[in-house]
Symmetry: C2
């Protein structure tokens, strides 16, 4: 068989078959734990055990321990001196620290993205917003999980356009760290005020559509600051009660 003929045949096959992918068990465990962390499924200060997670995920301990190690290095989890691992507790200082870092880095990312997003990308995030509205229309069932997912898609679709392979992993790390915190805030928003979270996102889209980097940055800061300031006041009043 000639080389050319073989290659042509291979191409014909390749056109029909989708690549099967070779994700390792460790990768799946890691993704699953990330999802749980960002979604706030774990509470702050909660202790995680290797064997416990391995049982829950129906694997052996090996992939879990490596995934935990990775999450610890990106500060999504915390290694105690006892060698047990827990999700980091919330403190006022940490809250301020996280917010400042997110404003700094995500602000820069969206400013970069503002100059690079085309109509294609704008359309994508508008689709996400539309999906959001649709869900909000039938508000009887408050699907906060889905809300968290949509919020994540919206923001990262933007960040992906910033064109920085260095900033994006850092933003992911920041979301991983603030995930367990903001969950309780989103929960409270969802059932309490309902002060149109979407309006913040619309302002972001408008700014991006007009390529106004500064306006996009400001709108983003307003958006991500909200749950933090909410949590902050909540924590402060709780601390006040403890003292009395």
């Amino acid at each position: 068989m000639q080389k050319a003929a073989v290659e042509k045949n291979n191409e014909a096959i390749a056109a029909q078959l989708a690549p099967v992918g070779r994700e390792t068990v460790q990768d799946r465990v890691y993704s699953e734990l990330r999802r749980a962390l960002i979604g706030g499924l774990f509470e702050p200060s909660q202790v995680l055990t290797i064997r416990g997670l391995a049982d829950a995920l129906v694997t052996s301990t090996m992939p879990v321990r490596e995934a935990l190690g990775r999450l610890i290095t990106e500060k999504a989890l915390e290694a105690l001196p006892n060698r047990s691992v827990r999700v980091p507790p919330i403190t006022l200082d940490r809250l301020d620290d996280l917010l400042r870092a997110r404003i700094l880095i995500e602000g820069e990312a969206i400013a970069l993205a503002a100059a690079r997003m085309g109509p294609r990308q704008i359309a994508t995030i508008e689709t996400i917003l539309a999906e959001w509205d649709e869900m909000r229309a039938l508000k009887h069932k408050k699907d906060v999980d889905r809300e968290v997912t949509l919020n994540q898609s919206f923001h990262f679709e933007i960040y992906r356009s910033c064109g920085s392979a260095v900033l994006i992993p850092m933003i992911e790390s920041l979301w991983l760290q603030s995930g367990p915190c903001i969950r309780v805030a989103i929960y409270a928003f969802s059932e309490a005020g309902e002060v149109d979270t979407a309006q913040y996102h619309r302002r972001i889209v408008e700014a991006l559509a007009t390529q106004d980097a500064q306006a996009a940055r400001d709108a983003l800061v307003a958006d991500i600051s909200r749950p933090f300031t909410f949590l902050r006041s909540k924590l402060q009043s709780a601390a006040g009660k403890d003292q009395t």
Copy 2:
């Protein structure tokens, strides 16, 4: 024995004994690889194998594979689709990307530190600079390893004062990523121009001593930009030659 007496006795013992610490093998492997990476002991694009490193470090494969996994998540190493791992190659885009992120984050860190560094911290970094001068005085033996270490101590002593537990790990990750790149630049500086690297650091110290955040930021930007722009022009001319 009463409780109080026991505790007093324990305190007396504790005063004499230093905590022994319980570092795991994995931690040592991780630290060692970090040191090698930041110091530029590995070349960009170099492939690393688990068993090879385990032999070199005289341990089994287990601690090494977990350390490698951690370094991959902080982008200090790169996982190829073949499942082998290498230190990321240098490209022009990546160089610019890294420099921008470092200016953004380290700039913010030093601006925060400027307001928080006391005479105690200033004295510490001045000591490091003095040590540097001392080394430079007997310049016959160009100890670039020591130079890299001193540079690292100088910067991180400053960053440590910024009081952000979130920013510092990010800066460490950035150094890990740019380590393999800047090594070649420092090497070239050390043997070529000798254009008083220390002068940049003096400007930083002066700005910090007067608590001038903006000046400190500017001086830092000048300092860390130097090796990057150097590398950039070098890479560009190399690419130009390839084309001809």
